[in-house]
Structures are given as structure tokens and as C-alpha cells.
Symmetry: C2
């Protein structure tokens, strides 16, 4: 804690420079050294458990006093059981391959030069997040394993917990013989504006939180930002769909965890199967306590459904509500997704080879699925390992970002004295 | 020309929306269709040669009247011979592989889901450039071949030439049955500010020009920008270097084309070989009309050399001037590059295996070379084919950007009814 307190006195620019200097040491750390660091972090999360839990209880008590909803207070809570789970997730990252130094291929030019692209860390990554304090650990370990320094700025409601977790990271870095400035916690909200202008030292900003936070960061940052805006995800049930499978996928995509960005918000149904499918899926959705709003053609089959407004088609409910629209064909479904979608996640349920192929080829979303739930658009589920977030902007990364997406590539060239003619 | 004139009347936002609509058609064009388009563009560059040359002569005459330097007037000139060369370069892009649709691997998850990453176009790319009008063609064909729409804004000194070249592109698009809005030329400087705020429709901005232009675009854009700042490139001659090879590489890196970003600006010489190497390389550089500025240790060997100031170490001369510094060892060379370099291109000349390895591993520049000239940091020379520019920022692309760097990836998932547990 002493260390964090003493550096907190110096300015944002100086702390970012210190992070950059620390990163040059981390960039050349071996995978063994970085894994040893992660093991120390996991051990300290278990060993220093009492200090973190105590700090967390202060935040939780303050949040309850301030009248935060019980859902928000629960997101804030970090008890011994959750800390053990956090330690376990750190050890999972140990098991992931280190992307740094990877050269996927070397090719030889006609003049004999051997050329390749080597993965290197991005540098210094700033993560600005709200409420859930476990982001301190999740984000830091992904940055550290990929050779990056992390600048973290959390919400004030988790201030004590964040500081206790940062102290865990700091001690583990020192124990591992690595510079503690590789993880820097900013605690003052007023520092964010200054942070977003440190173009000389910070390479990437990742805002993790609501649309307001993402928009604020995007509009005020001079540093590149990887954004995650809303997920208005679609399931299109084609004329040839296995309707029992379609119903299962729709219910899972909507109701398995409705508050997530990859949950479905709109169901598109091919007109040819609307009369058969809609009553069936409505029953299954009702059993999962999902409320429907629908277009006129939906209401012709299901008169009890509330009429959808134009605004519904672009709404991310994050709740047990689903908008339903009957469309003439695949083209109409693609047009709807293009007009109202958020390029996040879209699924088709079909038995038609041609339509599956067209959907995969033509939908420009971060994940496009055939006969599977939209809920699979997640780093863990897709096989990337832990993720630092999902990008809905196309530059650098599109979709879930794992360790690899926290790196870039440089060209490496092995010559024997070649000069350019 | 009619087409360009009539749309010029509508606003920037509307033209960007039209470009985005055109891009959705281009995104699903086959490689065959896109190559046919490029062949038409090449044929028209030769066939409509007279119209372009005439327009260019107006720009050249105006530039000469305005008192532009003969070098600048020459950069502006587009005669029949240069147009034939431009047509040939278009045909070279036909021969490059189309990155769109490429899925490098498909993996299977434990639940049977088949997951892959498919390359897709970025979308709409804005290129803001100065003077050389051939950028209209170079940039447009790389965007089109990779399925992107292009919004082009050139300098006013090439206004007539740019309009004539845009007309060539527009006619070729119509001939090929593709929407002419896939290439849009903005002609009014006042439109740039508005363009840089079209976050809903434009996916990437590439400024091509001097530091002032790049800085203006970076500071004013709400859209992601790929930057190319200066190239302060280094050659480090190690103690074990083959000095004859080192001399050849230094002369080539500095003098073969001193006005380019990958030309060397600073020579670092290991103290152990300074006395032998400096007189030798100074003679070779003098023969190539290169002027030297140097540190005190350099001047101890070469007293006639002008003393270097602190500012020299971070100066991109873009001219026949080279700064020279004697350093104690590899560590000192790395520290100098880290402090003064621009992360562009650095080379080591050495016979030492360990130092070659350390230099490659530890220098975080866009290209790092062993025993080869810095001048090889170029899309064509590295084997990427034509390049749209070199990125010195690490996000998305670092180093030369070819067709592949004008695409992103989406996740594709083939299921058999899987839902998330």
C-alpha cells in the first residue's frame, strides 16, 4: 500500500512514463517469468484474502448506505469464495499460450532476405471500468501475460477493494523481480481526462462499462480506443429450420443470461414458418418468463403480443424482452440486420446449405453463427481463453479480445548484406 | 464527370452514406468481378490518357505560376509515360491474392462447434493526401480489391488531375456493373472536418502526407486513424560487423533515396570499431555527397565533422545528412534507439549471433533488420505487394499496410443446434 500511496502523489503523465519504462522490462520477460508472476498473484489472492475482503466490506457497506440496488451491491461483493474463483481464473491464464515472440511464418524474398512478422506487446494499455472490482485482476493478468503494462481506473464505489487488489499485484510484481509500475492504479476521477491525452506513453484505451462511459472515452481520447457499444443481436429462423432446434436456440439466446451483450434482442421469422413456429416458440419463451413485442404480422399469429415500435428494433433490452418480426425471406432478414443491428452477433437457424453459406458470407458482424446460440460469442466459448472484452469496432480487433489481441506484429528481416537497388 | 459534379452538390454525410451502401455491394463481389474492374481501370487510364494529361497540364501550369518548387511541380506531373506505369501498377494488384473470405483455420470446440476467423473488408476508408495525384488510383484500387469503398480528398494543387482520375474510376465502376459511389472524391477543403466526424459510416482514416496533415487528422478525427509520423531510422554497426558490408548498408540506407521515411538518419557505431570504421564509412558517404554531424567521440576520429546538437538525434533530415554517434555497446545502442527513435525501422550489422538475436527480440520498431538496409521496410520489398502506407502506430497495423491490412476478421461458427449451458 505504501508504494501505491507514494506514487499517487505524482502526476498522471509521470506515472504513465513510469509504466512505459516498466513495460520495456516486461516486454523481454520470458513466458516462465510471466507465469511465475501469475502464480504469485494467485497465491497472494488466497493468502491476502482477509485484507481484500475487509476492504471490500467497506465498499459494500458504503454502497448499501448510498442506496445502490441489491444487484449492484452484489456485483461489488468479493468474498473468500469469489477470491478463490478469481485465483483459479488467474491460473487458467497461466495455461494459455504466450503470444509474444510468435512468428507464424518466415518467407524468403527473391534477393534472399528472410522476412517474418513477430508478435510483440502493444505497450501500455489503459483500462477504464465501472463497478466490478475483479476487473482489476482479470485485466491486469491478461496485460501482464502478454507483456503489456496496465493503467487501471475503476469506479469510486469499489475504491477500497481496487486499492487492495492493486496492492496484491504490486507485491507480486516485486516478489517476482519485476517493476511494480507495470500495474498502475489511478484513483482520482479527475485524472481520466489527462490519461486520455498521454499519446506518447499509452498505446490503447479499453473502456469497460455502459454506453455513457464508452462514448465519453471515445470522444475525449487522443489515444486509440477499442470500443464495445451495444449488442442488438438477432436470430433468424429460416423456412427450412428444424423448428424444435430453433426454439431451443431462441430461448437460450434470449433467456440463458439476458443481461449480457451477446443475448438476442430480436427474433426474425421466415413468413413461411411463422404460423407454425410462433405459437411454439412463444410457449417456450413464456415458460422462461420472456415478454414479447412484435410486428403486425407477428400479432396476426399471436394477437396477445404488444405492438413493437420503430425504436424496439434497435433496442438492447438486456432483460427478458424479445422483439419479433416476420420477414419474407433471407434478403429481408439481411436488410433488417443491416439497418437495425449493431454488428455484434447474429445467428441463422436453417437446413438450407445455400442460405447458411450466404448468411455466413454476408453478415458483417463480429460473430456469425449457423444453428447455434448467439451466447457463444465469448472468448472462452470460442476457444481464445480469457477475454479482456469484446470489440464492436472493426479496427485492430473485432469480436472477443484475448491475449493475442493485446499484441501487434513487427516485421523482422534476416539479411546477408543486402542493399536496395 | 457529370456524375462527380452532380453528387458534389450533396453533403458529406450523405455521400458517406452512399459510399457505405455501395460498399455492401462491393463486399460480396467475387475476386473475378473485382479483378475485371481493375483491368477496366487500367485500360481506361491508357484509353482516356489525353483527358487526364490535359487536366494535369492545367494543374502543372498553375503550380508553376504559383511559384512551387520544381521538385513539387515534378511530383504533380502525370504524363503519358507515367500513366502507362500507373496502369501497369494497377495490373500488378490484379495479380495479388484477394484477402476477403480467407479463413486461415477452423477449430472444433469440445461441444462440436466449428469456429474460424474470416477476413472481411473494413468498410469505408477515407484517404486524405497531399500533392501526388497518382494516390487517387493507388489508394482506390487497393480499397476496391479488398472490398472497401474509398473516400478520397486530395490537395487543391492537383484538383483537375484528381477529378479526371476520379472520373476514370467512376466510369470503370459503372462499366463493371458496380456502384460508382464506391469511390467518392471530395474536392472542398472545408469538407474534411465534417468527414472526420462520420463515425456511423466511415471505418478508417488514412492521412498520407507531412507531419502537419497527420497531426491535424489525428487531433480532429472521431474515426480511427492509422498514422504515419516521421521515420528516424538507425543503423547500428556492432563490434563484430563485416565493415565492408556495414559501409555498403549505411550508404544505401542513407543515400539511395534520402527523401523516404525508411532512409537512415542516425548511424550508431560500437566504440571498439569506431577508429577503423568511421574514416572508411565517411569516405564512402562523402562520395555519395552525404554531410555528417557527430558526437564528440565521432569528432575525435573525424575532426572535420560538425558537432551534433541534442535536436539532431531526433531529426528526420529527409536529406543527404547523417548524424553519427559512437556507443559503448549493444545496450547503449538500444537505449539510444529507445530514447530518440520513432519506432519505424532499425538495422544492426553484426556477425554476433547473440547480438543479432537480442536486437531482433528487443527493438519494438515496425521493422527490425539484421545485415540489410533500412530501405527494405516497404510493402513491395517485404513481399506484401502494393502498400497503401506505413503505419507507425501499433494498433491494427504496424509497418507497411497491404491488402490484408485493409481487412479485419469476424468469427464464423458452424453448429448443429448447440446452446450454452
Amino acid at each position: 500500500m505504501l508504494n501505491q500511496d507514494s506514487v499517487a502523489a505524482t502526476g498522471v503523465a509521470a506515472r504513465c512514463r513510469a509504466a512505459k519504462a516498466a513495460q520495456t522490462r516486461l516486454a523481454v520477460a520470458t513466458t516462465e517469468q510471466k507465469n511465475a508472476l501469475l502464480h504469485r498473484i494467485a497465491a497472494r489472492l488466497e493468502g491476502d484474502c482477509a485484507a481484500v475482503v475487509e476492504a471490500n466490506q467497506r465498499d459494500v457497506a458504503a454502497a448499501a448506505d448510498a442506496g445502490l440496488s441489491s444487484a449492484l451491491v452484489d456485483r461489488l461483493r468479493l468474498d473468500e469464495k469469489r477470491l478463490r474463483a478469481l485465483a483459479a481464473s488467474v491460473r487458467e491464464v497461466v495455461a494459455l499460450p504466450d503470444p509474444v515472440g510468435l512468428v507464424e511464418s518466415l518467407w524468403t524474398r527473391p534477393n534472399g532476405l528472410q522476412v517474418g512478422k513477430m508478435r510483440i506487446p502493444l505497450g501500455v494499455i489503459a483500462i477504464i471500468f465501472e463497478s466490478r472490482p475483479n476487473v482489476v485482476i482479470d485485466a491486469a493478468i491478461l496485460c501482464l501475460k502478454s507483456g503489456n503494462a496496465a493503467i487501471l481506473k475503476g469506479g469510486k464505489e469499489a475504491a477500497h477493494t481496487n486499492a487492495a487488489l492493486a496492492a496484491v499485484l504490486s507485491s507480486a510484481l516485486v516478489d517476482a523481480g519485476l517493476p511494480s509500475e507495470a500495474v498502475t492504479l489511478l484513483t482520482d476521477r479527475g485524472e481520466v481526462g489527462e490519461l486520455l491525452h498521454q499519446t506518447e506513453t499509452v498505446d490503447l484505451v479499453i473502456p469497460r462499462g455502459g454506453e455513457g462511459l464508452v462514448r465519453y472515452v471515445t470522444e475525449n481520447s487522443r489515444i486509440p480506443v477499442v470500443q464495445h457499444y451495444k449488442g442488438v443481436c438477432h436470430v433468424f429462423v429460416d423456412a427450412t429450420a428444424d423448428l424444435e432446434m430453433a426454439s431451443r436456440i431462441v430461448v437460450n439466446a434470449k433467456a440463458q443470461r439476458p443481461g449480457t451483450c451477446n443475448a438476442a434482442e430480436t427474433l426474425l421469422v421466415h413468413a413461411e414458418v411463422a404460423e407454425r413456429f410462433l405459437p411454439e416458440v412463444a410457449r417456450a419463451l413464456a415458460a422462461a418468463r420472456v415478454t414479447l413485442v412484435g410486428c403486425e404480422r407477428t400479432r396476426a399469429v399471436l394477437p396477445e403480443v404488444t405492438p413493437a415500435t420503430e425504436a424496439d428494433w434497435s433496442t438492447e433490452y438486456l432483460d427478458l424482452v424479445l422483439s419479433v418480426r416476420v420477414v419474407d425471406d433471407l434478403e429481408a432478414a439481411l436488410a433488417h440486420i443491416s439497418r437495425y443491428g449493431s454488428s455484434h452477433t447474429e445467428a441463422i437457424v436453417t437446413r438450407d446449405y445455400q442460405n447458411a453459406h450466404a448468411f455466413i458470407a454476408r453478415v458483417p458482424s463480429s460473430a456469425v453463427l449457423v444453428n447455434a446460440s448467439t451466447r457463444f460469442n465469448d472468448g472462452g466459448e470460442l476457444g481464445l481463453g480469457a477475454e479482456i472484452g469484446i470489440s464492436t469496432s472493426k479496427l485492430h480487433a473485432f469480436g472477443p479480445m484475448g491475449l493475442r489481441e493485446l499484441t501487434t506484429t513487427k516485421f523482422i528481416v534476416y539479411g546477408q548484406g543486402q542493399v536496395r537497388a
